[in-house]
């Protein structure tokens, strides 16, 4: 006599008794979870994941919660009026997002920026990179459960915001880069205050490394998690720190130097380990390098001169097109502008780093554990408002 309950014997028995046996199908085992937009760990973004036990088997991003039609709005306004609303997608990195716009408009209208203006632009851009990266680091810290790493960067960020407020007059929305240069000259005593702040911040960076990056808990949660190989990174088209963490030294400041960056000596920071730790550590290395760049910029800036070229009230150029990009906190940020010879652009296309990095999210999450989701998601250096535009 056999005591085994194979499917065949069960089916035979059920035929006798008239009972039906329901086999567990693949779809019943999976559970669909919705993450966001009301969720402490997703920001202005929603994605659904299908989990099989602890492991994610499918991920479906759903962006577009902050789609405000920036590109269409550009067509109603002239080149100068466009600046304030174009910096809203990343208000904590607003000098970089208006930098590439100004470069593209200058190429269209053939404006030459004075040397001092170019240097002040670069200083403001590097300051804003620090502000952005510190905010990102604060968010990454709090979602890994490290409250100190929320408080310290948020506190140090305020000091950089003070500097930018002294330079531009606003906390986060500066509208400082305009086609033809910058809005105003540096105030008296700005360089000294800036240098003091950099020396203070370089000491703080050592403490950040000790408390956060050398923390065994943080290392366990990020090392070896979410591997993105060099081939995959290039195939998916990620940019910025995510690309550089995948063993690819590529930086727009080095590859296509704009304004004064070909006169500055700096190294492209990259890492070879391709995991979440590398993606978290490369922005930190960028902050260090940015301090080094800022010292050189303050040292080399021409002591006098114009900061902006004279413009006609409604600048317009011949019909044509221009594409310029800069290295922002999240990677390559480009503007493609088509002009038909009128003071208003015919079409503006914004190519942002966040959206490119988001495309790697399904690739990284499939196969990962659900508990690793926050570490993988925020290490992508993703800002949803910018991706939605």
């Amino acid at each position: 006599m056999s005591t085994e309950f194979s499917n065949e014997t069960l089916e035979k028995n059920s035929n006798n008794t008239g009972l039906q046996i329901v086999k567990e199908s693949e779809e019943d085992r999976l559970m669909t979870l919705s993450v966001g937009p009301q969720h402490p760990g997703s920001g202005h973004f929603r994605f659904t994941v299908k989990v099989d036990g602890d492991y994610i088997v499918h991920c479906d991003p759903d962006p577009g919660y902050v789609h405000r039609g920036e590109e269409k709005m550009c067509e109603y306004r002239n080149f100068i009026q466009n600046i304030p609303h174009l910096e809203r997608p990343v208000i904590h990195d607003s000098n970089n997002i208006t930098y590439s716009y100004s470069l593209a408009v200058e190429e269209l209208t053939n404006i030459q920026v004075p040397r001092r203006g170019q240097y002040i632009r670069a200083i403001a851009s590097e300051l804003n990179r620090q502000v952005y990266t510190l905010y990102w680091l604060a968010i990454y810290g709090i979602f890994l459960g490290h409250s100190t790493m929320f408080m310290w960067p948020t506190g140090d960020r305020e000091l950089f915001i003070d500097l930018l407020e002294m330079l531009t007059g606003a906390r986060v929305t500066h509208a400082f880069n305009i086609p033809g240069g910058v809005r105003n000259d540096m105030p008296v005593g700005f360089s000294e205050k800036c240098l003091r702040q950099i020396s203070y911040f370089e000491k703080r960076l050592v403490e950040y490394e000790n408390i956060f990056y050398n923390n065994p808990l943080m290392r366990q949660r990020t090392e070896g998690v979410g591997l993105l190989t060099k081939e995959d990174a290039i195939k998916l088209g990620v940019t910025g720190s995510v690309l550089r963490a995948s063993n690819t030294p590529y930086d727009i400041r080095k590859a296509e130097p704009y304004d004064v960056y070909n006169e500055i000596d700096f190294k492209v920071q990259y890492m070879k380990s391709c995991d979440c730790f590398a993606r978290a550590y490369v922005p930190f290395l960028d902050m260090k390098e940015s301090c080094y760049i800022m010292r050189q910029l303050i040292d080399k800036i021409p002591q006098s001169g114009e900061v902006r070229a004279k413009l006609q009230p409604n600048p317009k150029g011949p019909a044509g097109e221009a594409y310029r990009r800069v290295e922002s906190g999240r990677g390559a940020l480009g503007y493609y502008i088509i002009s038909d010879g009128t003071p208003k652009p015919y079409r503006v296309k914004i190519s942002v780093g966040s959206f490119r990095n988001m495309l790697a999210l399904p690739h990284l999450l499939v196969g990962a554990k659900l508990a690793d989701m926050p570490a993988i998601y925020w290490a992508l250096n993703y800002w949803p408002v910018e991706a939605d535009r």
């Binding site: 937009p37 009301q38 969720h39 402490p40 920001g43 202005h44 577009g64 919660y65 902050v66 789609h67 405000r68 039609g69 269409k72 709005m73 109603y76 304030p84 609303h85 809203r88 997608p89 990343v90 208000i91 904590h92 905010y135 604060a138 968010i139 709090i142 929320f150 408080m151 948020t154 506190g155 960020r157 305020e158 915001i161 906390r171 986060v172 929305t173 408002v385």
Partner: protein
């Protein structure tokens, strides 16, 4: 006289009047205590609608520290929250979610509209995908102007809301 009052037809009226007297007697001390409790535990929903969330985050940093006013940020559950801070532009895709979040919260609940976009649509008034102000979908208690408002302005708006709760009647 007493017989007239206690007769069954007047009994309900008498109980009602006694109830009114009781509420009036208790409203002052009890209402003050309940409102005092509500003021210092305003827990906001963690729903970010647009870019004002950067300044909302800065407000919880060490320099501004809104926890002094009983506001705990990044709070997980909707069922324990009693404040919605609408942080900026509300798009057509976000609007149903915002209303759904508001409906899921228990009473009493308060709304702060933060930033020019949440008040009128602001800079994005002529965009095809943006609501002209959130007061069309949820009732707003305090408007905090600015684009984006500074953290000090947000704190002032919160204190205004606390003043409003202090003067409101319970029940």
């Amino acid at each position: 006289m007493l017989k007239d009052l206690i007769n069954p037809t007047n009994f309900n009226v008498l109980v009602g009047k006694l109830g009114d007297v009781l509420v009036k007697a208790l409203d002052q001390p009890l209402g003050y205590a309940i409102n005092w409790g509500r003021i210092w535990s305003l827990w906001p929903v963690h729903l970010e609608t647009a870019c004002c969330s950067v300044e909302f985050g800065a407000a919880s940093g060490p320099r501004y520290d809104v926890e002094r006013f009983g506001i705990i940020e990044a709070f997980g559950s909707l069922r324990q929250c009693d404040l919605v801070v609408v942080q900026g532009t509300v798009t057509r895709k976000m609007a149903p979610r915002l209303r759904m979040v508001y409906d899921q919260m228990p009473d009493p609940k308060y709304v702060i509209a933060m930033g020019a976009c949440a008040i009128t649509g602001g800079l994005y008034i002529d965009s095809y995908n943006v609501l002209p102000g959130v007061d069309g979908i949820i009732p707003v208690d305090v408007y905090v102007p600015g684009c984006p408002p500074r953290p000090e302005t947000l704190i002032q708006g919160t204190m205004l809301l606390q003043e409003k709760i202090k003067r409101s009647k319970i029940g």
